[in-house]
Assembly symmetry: C2
Homo-oligomer: 328 residues x 2
């Protein structure tokens, strides 16, 4: 049995949607059990209404909630009874929990992960997104917004964390690491990219494949795409915006032409370019896996994320922090 902890609060759609997602995941995966953190009464009601198997659900009451207006420093100090921090604390203390899902405030989740899951060796936590690549595999984009202003040491750190993650998550022996730039040639890039290029190229443990342009960000030319959090946020959101726009166009066209075939195509595209799962983030650099789903994501995002955690537990993805000692 693989047990994960789910913060039921912090979703724009309310706790019920998160609980429904958890119920769906439990139904789909008999080897999964969950610790649901939040409003105990509500969770009990929902679980009973949904006929969730009681032996695979544990509930931890947390009256308080982190909002999007809370600053990380204040929240860590004042909101220890919030569902997010109680969930992180449980994840940190209990050996039976392998990972966590939350759709709450990203800044507090990052700071909280660092606070509760750093152990003895502190490293800078990174927010990665794992996105479907055109080639059929996945691309790990690091960083997507945890650190907005970066230096070349940080980008080097992101490259190592991303590479190790893809190794353990997808059993890729030597993940190809690319550096997001405005041109493929070594001479291209902003100051940060130009400083980072030789560092990544010289580090033999990385399989560095050079600069990658935005149009190839998710082509599959690299398994790990390294960039500062500002640029990563752009890659993520521009991809989302463009995909949403084109799919909306197709839906309108289907409506205009009353074509069932085109409606079917639009549904097919929506399942591939699942907007609600884009933009979720995996916190790398901490002792257990914490995955942030988007604030507006629905039940399916909880199911998908639970599946990622199951997958990681199966692959026994272990994060060896000693290697990152100098990257605090």
């Amino acid at each position: 049995m693989t047990k994960i902890v789910i913060d039921t609060k912090g979703s724009d759609k309310g706790a019920s949607v998160v609980i429904k997602g958890a119920a769906k995941a439990l139904e789909k995966h008999p080897g999964l059990s969950v610790l649901l953190v939040g409003d105990k009464e509500l969770i009990e009601q929902e679980c009973s209404a949904l006929n969730v198997p009681v032996d695979r659900v544990e509930i931890l009451d947390a009256p308080d909630e982190i909002t999007n207006y809370d600053s990380p420093a204040e929240a860590l100090f004042n909101k220890r009874n919030s569902s997010m921090l109680k969930a992180l604390s449980a994840l940190s203390e209990r050996d039976d929990l392998v990972g966590m899902i939350s759709s709450g405030n990203t800044g507090v989740l990052l700071a909280g992960s660092m606070r509760y899951l750093s152990g003895k060796v502190r490293v800078r936590p990174v927010l990665a997104a794992v996105l479907p690549a055109q080639s059929g595999g996945f691309t790990c984009l690091v960083d997507t917004g945890a650190t907005i202003d970066c230096n070349s040491d940080m980008l080097h750190h992101f490259a190592k964390l991303g590479s190790d993650f893809m190794k353990s998550m997808y059993c890729i022996e030597r993940p190809k690491v690319g550096l997001l730039s405005n041109g493929a040639e070594e001479s291209k890039g902003n100051k940060l990219v130009k400083e980072t290029y030789p560092i990544l190229a010289a580090y033999e443990s990385l399989n560095f494949v050079g600069n990658i342009e935005g149009n190839n960000a998710l082509s599959g030319d690299c398994d790990v795409l390294v960039c500062d959090g500002f640029a990563g946020n752009q890659v993520l959101k521009v991809t989302e915006g463009t995909a949403t726009r084109i799919i909306t166009d197709i839906m309108k066209y289907a409506y205009k032409t009353q074509s069932d075939e085109i409606k079917k195509l639009a549904m097919h595209l929506m399942s591939i370019y699942d907007i609600s799962s884009l933009g979720g983030g995996i916190i790398l650099g901490v002792e257990k896996t914490v995955i942030k789903t988007r604030g507006n994501s629905g039940e399916d995002a909880v199911v998908n994320t639970a599946e990622m955690l199951l997958n990681m537990a199966e692959n026994k993805a272990v994060f060896d922090k000693e290697k990152y000692k100098n990257n605090i």
Copy 2:
């Protein structure tokens, strides 16, 4: 009669494609005439084969060519007989020419535009892209790669140039100016964005609408989207990469299902998200309009670009450089 100059060299697809594009534009627009710069013999041959009206074509022989390996400084010094620099020189000297099209080396084209078209008041030239917005209008993205590392004064300069361009090009009275950021709130952004926000907000001549996230870059929430050249390049290329990928998926699906309806849809989308016209750039900040089409763009890109120049000439878009005096 509106006369434009076309650099026939520098295209990845060869001069013949550019000349064919010019012939198409001439056929479509009886009020257009062109000065074609490049290999005289080849231009004459092509024009005669295409039955181009001789009275609307002038040819300027230029034996030399700027390649993508030329550095701006060297090219300006050593390649004055290149088609690009001869075209720029003609544009600068002759009153009958209103604008120019080139698909050659962007760096040399920018430096050359500054050298030949700056006049007495030098301002930093900017590479803008005008992209179709979801709302139906257009968004001017500045900068898309002319200046990769920027400071807040430069972004302020881009905002003013972009705003003036949209005013004169599309007769928008007070173009909405947005600042590309990683969140809509004023507090979001990298160091550069945070420094730029109050400057744009305080400048009353601009209709500043605040931060714009990547997923809304081309939603139409703003008419001018301001960012550094690195970020602008990402917005442009990630949009292109995502659109190309989805359209390719649809084509594959059409092939698999043998559906004519879906083939028609794919063609329809290709015409909206015309990849070959994305990524072209308009050089702002110089005395006459220079438009860079992509190296791999085809005949239609030449036609579209010629239409933009005709449109600008009709609107009598005049660039008042005195306003930019301090933004050298």
